[in-house]
Each structure stands twice: as C-alpha cells, then as structure tokens.
Amino acid sequence: MIVELGHFALILALLVAVVQAVVPLAGAARGWAEWMRVAPVAAAAQLVLLALAFGALTHAFVVSDFSVRLVAANSHSAKPMLYKVTGVWGNHEGSLLLWVLILALFGAMIAWRGRNLPAALAARVLAVQAMIGVAFMAFMVFTSNPFERLAVPPVDGQDLNPLLQDPGLAFHPPFLYLGYVGLSTAFSFAVAALIEGRVDPAWARWVRPWTLAAWMFLTVGIALGSYWAYYELGWGGWWFWDPVENASFMPWLIAAALLHSAIVAEKRDSLKSWTVLLAILAFSFSLIGTFIVRSGIITSVHAFASDPARGVFILAILAVAIGGALGLYAWRAPLLAARGVFAPVSRESALVINNVLLTVSALVVFIGTIWPLLAEFLTGAKVSVGPPFFELTFTPFIVLVALVLPVGTLLAWKRGNLARALGRLAPVAALALAVAGLLWSLGTGRSLIAPLGIGLSVWVLGGVLAELAERARLMRAGPAESLRRLWNLPRADWGKSVAHAGLALSIFGIAAISAWETEDIRVMRPGETAEIGGWSLTLDSVERLPVGADFDIPGCATSSPTGFGFLLALFRETGPRNFITDLGRFTLRRNGEPVAGLCAEKRLYPVQRMPTTEAAIDSGWTRDIYVVLGDPQQDGGWAVRSYVKPFAVWIWLGALVMAAGGLISLTDRRYRVGAARRAGAPAGAVAAE
C-alpha cells in the first residue's frame, strides 16, 4: 500500500512537472502574472510528492518488502540497517529517484529565493528546471520504475553488492548528486537568460551562489569517493581515471571555470556569453556523466547497474537538453554584448587564461574517456585509454593553472601591472624554487614529481599569503591597521584564498604520495615482524569470525579507518556481521615503541559469494600506514601487503578546504537573501569593489 502511494506520488510529480514546464513559460512570454505564479507552487508540490515517493521506497527497503522487485534484487533481510537505508540509492532506479528528489529540492529552493528575482526570470528558470524533471521522471516511470512489484516475492533478497556495503555509500552518492544536479540551476538560469536575451551583472550574481553550492557538493562528493576507493579497494589507489570518475571530474572542472568567469560577468559586465555557455556545458557534462554511469556504455568498475536500452532514452534526453540549449545559445548569444572592457594585462585576462585551461583540460578528459568508443566506431579497433594517458596529458594543465594562479590574484581589475605583481611574488618564487631544488638534489623522489609538485604547492600557498599580505598592506600600514583590513575583507575574498590554499594542499598530497609511497609485499606467519620504511609491523594473529559476530571487535578500536573516521564514526556499522571475517591483528612499532594496533580484514559475503578487503590504516598528518591481509599460504603464513603513504590525508583535506572556501564565499553579504533587491535595479548594480 505504501509502495503504491509512493508510485502514485512519483507519477503525480511527473504531471506537476509537466504543468510547471509549460504554464509559467507561457505566462512569462505573455506577461500573465497569474500563470507565472504557478511555478513556485508547482515546485513546492514536486518536492513534497518526490519526498513522499522517496520515503515510500525507503520504507520498503527498511521493512525488506521483497515483493518490490528493486528491494528483492538489491537488499537482504540480514543486511545491517545502515545499508538497508543507503541501499535505496545503491542501485539504478533508487539512485535516479534520489536524483530527481534533489532536482526538486533545488527547484523548490529557487522558488523560495525567487521572490527576489524578476518574476519573468524566476518563472522561466523554474520552467526549465521542470523540463529536466519531466525528462528524468518519464525515464523512471517508463524504463526504470523503482516501485515495480513482483508477482511471486522471493523468500529473501539478493543482497547489495558487498563493495557498496560501506559507510561511504551513505555520503558519496548524495553529495555527488547534490553537485551534479545542483548544476541544473546554472543551466536553467542560462537557458532562461537566453530566452530573455539579457545577461547583466545581477544575473551573474544570482547564478554564482547556486554554482558555488553545486561545485562545493561536487568537490566533497568526489573527495569522499576518492577516499572510499582508497580504503576499500585494497591497495590504496585514490584515483583511477575510470570513466565514472571522469564523469564527475569533467563537470567539476567546468563548474570551476564557470565560477571564475561568473566573477568577471558580475563585476566587470564582460565574458557574459561565455559564462552562459559554461553554465550550459557544466550541466551538459553532468548529464553526460549520468549517461556514462547509467548506460554502462563505457565499461568501468562502477557499472553496477547498466542497461543499454536505458542508455538510448538517456541519449535522447542528452540530445534534446544539450542540443536544444546550445541551439538556443547559437541563436541568442549575439544579443549578449559585453560592456566592460579591460587591458590585456588584467585580472580579467588572468581569469580568461584560467577558463581556457580548465575548459580545455575538461575536454581532454572527455576525449580520453570516450576515445575507446569513438575509435571502435570509426576504425573498428579496440583500444584502452588508462591512467598512464591521463596522467601524461592532464598534469600539464594543472601545472599551468597553478603557475598562473598567484599572478592572476595579484593583478588589478581592468588594467594590471605585471611587473609589480611578479615583484610581490619574488620571495614566494624564490622559496618555491629553493624547495624544489632541495628536493631535486636530495633525489629522494623517483622523478620530477616531488620537486615539481611540492614546489608548485609552495608557490600557490605562498601566493595566497602574498595576496592577503598585499590586501592587508602588511609592513606598510601598522599591525592594527593590517588586522583591521584583513578583518574587513569581503567573505568572497576570504573564500577565494581558502579555496586556493586547498588546491595547494591537494597538489602537495598528490605529489608526496606519488613520489614517496613505498610498498612491501611478503608472506608473514603470526608472530613475524616486517620492517617497512622505518616502521616495524608485527602480525600478531589471524582468526576467523563467523557470520553473526558483532561489528565491534574487542581490541580493534574501529573497523573503519581513522583520519576521516570522525565522519564515518557517525555511520558506524553496528550489530551482527553479515559476512565471514578473517581478522589479522597487527602491531605497528617505531623504534620498538608500539604506535598502533591494526586490524585488517578479509570479508566473504555469503549471499553474493564475494570477498572484499578492509585495509587497516593508521592515519596521520605526515603518513598513512596501510596494511592489507591477503590469502593464506601453504606454509601457514599469510600474504601481507603494507604501504607507507606519505601525507596521504592532505589529498582529501585539501579538497575539503577547497569546499570550505566555497562555503565561506557563499556567506558573502551580496549573496544573502534579499541582497539583490537591496542592491537596486538589476542593470548597473555592480557591487562596489
């Protein structure tokens, strides 16, 4: 009964979305206020209906209603409650329901904040938003219905893919979807602006917070996914250039470019049509990402739910949405004339360089991702494009972005002084070169990675500090005056500095782990000790725990790795284990002193008959010790893989710092509710610099 109510709510939401897609658009075209006013009501109704549908599906999973096909295929009565709930989106249909729920959430939020927008613009934005909703809800109702019943319910379910039975599933997909789908707002604003044929600084100011929020969520989502892969897949890889990872990375790159170009559109009334194009592209890449994930057209480790037939439907959505938006763009963009002008050396130009680099790098990732498909289509040859290709072609872009970044932040708007900016950065450059030279001469790195990467991170981080010092007039004004100036910097500027510092930290972590990671593979018998890079690791014992053993094992502080453990601890598995465990207990010592007790697990899920590894990680600011228990050997020993991963946590901490920068920027005064209205008429209301 509840399932049918959810099903009904989904269909009703689809119908409401159809109304929302048509009526406000007509109202805006004719200037009928009553018709435009339908939009916010419909947006709220959609949210309520989809929340009901989602709640109904969650209920079916929680009570293990195996008469629902989706529950039978993806759940099991003995699965821990956490994974019954997160399993709702651990499959194709359920993840789509989450997708449209988040779309409706953004729609309702635009409607709520839309009271500060011109009525026609708000109506058009919500109508476009509803069109996306129609496409995806129709896709669900006609090809991927989560509420389908089985005539003969099975006794028990087939369980969730064991790799997904992890706290990571609670966070990674929702954040990723908040990011993916959040970019729909920028898309809707862009299409609405094209329909109106007008983009002004106020438009850019309305779009930026939505883009910022989506980009933040995407950053966190990608970082969580990367960390999940790091601890779950058993060898500590954190990025694989897998098509599905690329699918989330491309919109991230384009959204980052959009954030930067929207600043120029807002403050300088230039780069407008480019900003609109980026807004369309960002969401287009989200849709392409959805297509890649959902169709399974490009084989990848993530394709846990793939079906080519559905791919055709999504391809049609893709063609209409992207083709339509780009067509509209080609037709209307010439109306968006730039008004602000600037010299070749200026902050604007630096942001243009940033945009070229980010956009081209996203296109390169895109071409690399679809090349196997394209090559097979064109020449019939089967080729693979893997990490070695992407590392070689993508890295130069990040190097260039990082090189230009500090210079750009020190250039003035309109007309900058390059010599002066470089002069301010001279000490930073000297420091970065010194660090790089030192690392090079020490020769500890296997290659150029360490000197280049760490030198760059010093350059970017030093550039951030140099810019703050410049803004505070450090050394020239008194300390009190400098402090006052820093305090009074707009939040958006603080956000920028923090986000750029986060980039520097991530580059640092990536360079350090790439250059200095050490690996050890050997057979160990209980009681034996291995020396790994200055640490000694003792295998104390290996024991087998049956199904039903408690999740909490005495002597193992937490079965989840530390580091981000504070986050994972919120969603710790509890109760009986739904798998067989081989538990290896290790003691890590430094100079004879015990540092940590480590519990590495091998799990065997009886329902899906699939093994997984749970690495034991002792996480620290300067290194992670990463231990994996392998197979038993004939002589009573166990294969053990252990790694010292220097500065690993900084990869993800850097990403979180970037997202924090976005959050700080989002609290800037000019994005607050009502700010647009107080700032006066849309045109000409450029925020005072």
Binding site: D242, V356, T359, V360, L392, I521, R609, A639
Partner: protein, 150 residues
C-alpha cells in the same frame, strides 16, 4: 544471473590480492621494472584495471609472463611488444601514438593552442574597442546634476 554466479566463483577462487608474494622476482631492479610494465597493461577481463591492480587469474598469468620475459633478458619495450602481439592494442592502457590515436594524443596540445588563440584574439579585439559605452541620457543628466551641485 548465471554469469554473475560464475564470476563470483571465479573471484572466490582467485586471490584477493593483486601481486602475490610468490610471483615476485628476487632481483629488486627487475621486479621494479616488472611492476612499472604491469601498470601499463590492462587486465583484459576486468573493467579498467591494470594487471598490477587486478586480482583476476588472467592478470596473474600476464604478470608471470611479463616476469618470465624480463628474466629472459627482454627490454621493457620488447616485453610490451610481445604482449601486444598476443593480445592486441586493447591491452595497452597508454594507447600507441600513431594512426587514429594521433587524434587522441594531439587533442590536448591542439585544443590548448586553439583555445589560447581564440582567447588572445578576443582579448585584443575587446581591448581595442572604444572605451566603454557612452553614457545614457539618464546618466548624463545625473552627471550634470552632480557637477552642478558640486
């Protein structure tokens, strides 16, 4: 469904770790070369995994083959050529620079040059345009008012 079950059994039988201790070569320099080569080769039955990362049986066979060739004195190049001769270009995670793949390899520099050129042209064009749009009648009136008040 049947296929999934077979696959699950294969996984169950197969090792849970990629490179096994018994595979490794005694000579650390040779082993390091074997690892580097392994990272360039795709595990053919896996989804986007190198043979170095994969726990599939076929990946193990390939790893052993790589080491066997290295022990026989092959250069890195020769080992890779040997594997490609048997399994085709699909096994390479870094596609060969030649033929249709040139498009892939040249995409990054070509797009960067094109993007840079467009940006430079646009910057020069917009920089040389007349400084800003002239004041509107309303703005001119306001300016006059301000000047008069001053």
């Amino acid at each position: 469904m049947m296929r999934a079950a077979v696959l699950a059994f294969a996984l169950l039988a197969g090792p849970a770790l990629a490179v096994q201790p018994d595979e490794m070569l005694g000579d650390p320099a040779l082993e390091a070369r074997a690892r580097a080569i392994s990272r360039e080769l795709r595990c053919l039955v896996c989804r986007n995994e190198s043979i170095d990362d994969s726990s599939a049986d076929l990946a193990r066979d390939l790893r052993l083959l790589v080491r066997e060739r290295l022990l026989q004195g092959d250069s890195d190049r020769e080992v890779i050529d040997y594997i490609v001769a048997r399994y085709g270009d699909f096994v390479l995670l870094r596609p060969r620079m030649g033929g249709a793949n040139l498009v892939l390899w040249l995409a990054a520099p070509a797009l960067l040059l094109a993007g840079g050129a467009v940006a430079v042209l646009w910057l020069r064009r917009q920089g040389s345009r007349a400084p800003a749009t002239p004041l509107s009648a309303e703005e001119r009136a306001r300016l006059e008012r301000i000047l008069k008040d001053g």
